[in-house]
């Protein structure tokens, strides 16, 4: 019983923490819409895995990574507006997912838990995946901090100054896709993008440095995940939704601090 609870708490904390680490970068690079799209694109990956009876998480991860890189490549090479490319892939993936799910007749699948997330369904193996993901995120952001900082500031100038823009951008897209897919079970397709945006916008109301904003986002996520889990335990309501609502409350509180800072 207690193992089961610890596992659920860990799932909530780790998934919120990983998404929050990426949150300031996603917001500054103005790819938050990409985060939302990838979570919906994951739906087609899940459907494909179910239809072909493949490993669900691995298939979804590969599918989402390929689509993320394709969006990035098409936007750069063919000068398509990134928002348009994302919209095309999002809609096509959702349509594909619906068709694939309908083809799998007679199969009962708990789609709701993927749409809204359920920390109680996270397995021990998925906890290990979340730990590895969090460590990879920490390593990537600390090692390539300078590169990510200038890439987020202005990609063209970062390239002019010989920063490895292509490499860092590719790893960023792969890890963003991995963050979305691996946290899906805990955070949910619908709610994952909120956890990619809210910690950052709250942090930027409180601090004016990217490194501080990343730390602040992680703290906000830990606070919201702990509070969200406690609320769901006492009130018997879904954890993912609680976390998002608590992050939103923290965002509203941060607005007051922002106003005070401006007055000061």
């Amino acid at each position: 019983m207690y193992n089961f609870i610890y596992q659920a708490i860990l799932a909530a904390l780790l998934s919120s923490f990983s998404l929050a680490l990426f949150s300031p970068l996603v917001t500054l690079r103005q790819v938050s819409y990409m985060g939302e799209a990838l979570s919906h694109i994951a739906f087609a990956g899940i459907a494909l895995a179910l239809l072909l009876e493949l490993n669900l998480q691995l298939t979804t991860l590969i599918f989402v990574v390929i689509v993320a890189l394709a969006i990035s490549w098409l936007s750069q090479k063919h000068k398509l507006q990134e928002a348009n490319t994302i919209t095309i892939f999002l809609s096509v993936s959702m349509a594909l997912g619906i068709i694939l799910i309908s083809l799998k007749k007679g199969y009962s699948f708990d789609l709701e838990s993927y749409l809204f997330g359920n920390v109680l369904l996270v397995s021990p193996a998925e906890i290990y995946q979340l730990v590895i993901l969090a460590l990879l995120d920490i390593f990537f952001i600390s090692f390539f901090y300078k590169e990510l900082f200038y890439l987020s500031y202005n990609a063209e100038m970062a390239k002019f100054y010989r920063l490895p823009v292509g490499l860092v951008n590719t790893i960023f897209m792969i890890l963003l896709a991995a963050n979305i897919v691996i946290t899906l079970r805990a955070a949910g397709i619908i709610l994952v993008s909120a956890q990619l945006i809210l910690p950052a916008v709250t942090s930027f109301n409180l601090v004016k440095r990217l490194d501080y904003a990343i730390l602040c986002s992680a703290l906000i996520a830990i606070l919201a995940a702990s509070g969200g889990f406690a609320l769901s335990w006492w009130l018997d309501i879904p954890t993912g939704a609680n976390i998002v609502l608590l992050e939103f409350v923290l965002y509203l509180i941060s607005l007051m601090f922002r106003r005070r800072q401006k007055i000061a």
């Binding site: 390539f144 300078k146 900082f149 100038m157």
Partner: protein
């Protein structure tokens, strides 16, 4: 020395540059003038490696420019730098960007880099703004931050795309005084500008471009005929006695 040989460039069959042959010798303070759409920015973007060559070649110190750029840097001040005004960065961090190629991936700036960035900021007269948020600076102050970034690596070459944009008249004058001092100290400078009065006062060499090269000569030799040839009948020269 920067040599441009038989350089042509077109976009969707529109000729932007046609058969440009030009040599910029070391120690020169050259200005690139011409009407809007003359290909001035395209020419400097080709030199800096932002755009790929189509026809012709560019050599820097006798080496194909892309090879040279792998090992060396050119100080560059863009005409307009796009950035999010809410981006959480200071003037100091933007100047440090000019030094990133000296660092390996994953390594951090050291105090020596910060000292150099501070010197560059002092050179452009805004050392007191080092820790100010970039988004809080005025257009003129931003221009000085970007100029400090172009200067911080102490490159032999400096290329500027309309540096007087966003500056008021005294600001333009002090900028060109600074550029002249840097030129006297040995820097080779190429600048795009529309202010012929200021150019004739400070630059040693004028390059008149309107898709084709109309002249590249000493600034003192540029006369009304050359200006009309470059700009067409759209300009009228008024001689003023200051």
């Amino acid at each position: 020395m920067i040599e441009i040989c038989s350089l042509s460039y077109n976009i969707n069959r529109n000729i932007i540059l046609e058969d440009i042959n030009l040599t910029l010798t070391d120690g020169e303070f050259a200005a690139l003038i011409g009407p809007n759409g003359a290909g001035k920015s395209t020419l400097i973007k080709l030199i800096l490696g932002f755009l790929p060559l189509q026809t012709g070649a560019i050599y820097i110190e006798g080496i194909p420019h892309l090879e040279w750029l792998k090992e060396h840097s050119i100080g560059y001040l863009p005409q307009h730098e796009e950035f999010n005004r809410n981006f959480p960065t200071t003037a100091m961090e933007i100047v440090l960007m000019g030094l990133v190629r000296e660092l390996h991936p994953g390594s951090r700036f050291k105090s020596i880099h910060r000292q150099r960035a501070m010197q560059a900021l002092a050179l452009t007269g805004i050392a007191h703004l080092a820790n100010h948020q970039l988004g809080s600076l005025s257009g003129g102050e931003l221009q000085r931050v970007f100029l400090a970034r172009a200067l911080v690596s102490d490159s032999k070459y400096l290329i500027l795309d309309e540096p007087e944009a966003s500056l008021d008249q005294p600001g333009v004058k002090s900028l060109f005084i600074l550029l002249k001092d840097l030129n006297k100290a040995g820097k080779t400078i190429l600048t795009i500008s529309h202010d012929l009065n200021i150019l004739s006062e400070y630059c040693s060499f004028l390059i008149c471009l309107n898709r084709r090269l109309h002249c590249h000569t000493s600034a003192e030799l540029v006369n009304a005929e050359i200006i009309h040839k470059t700009f067409g009948d759209t300009v009228r020269l008024i001689e003023k006695d200051y």
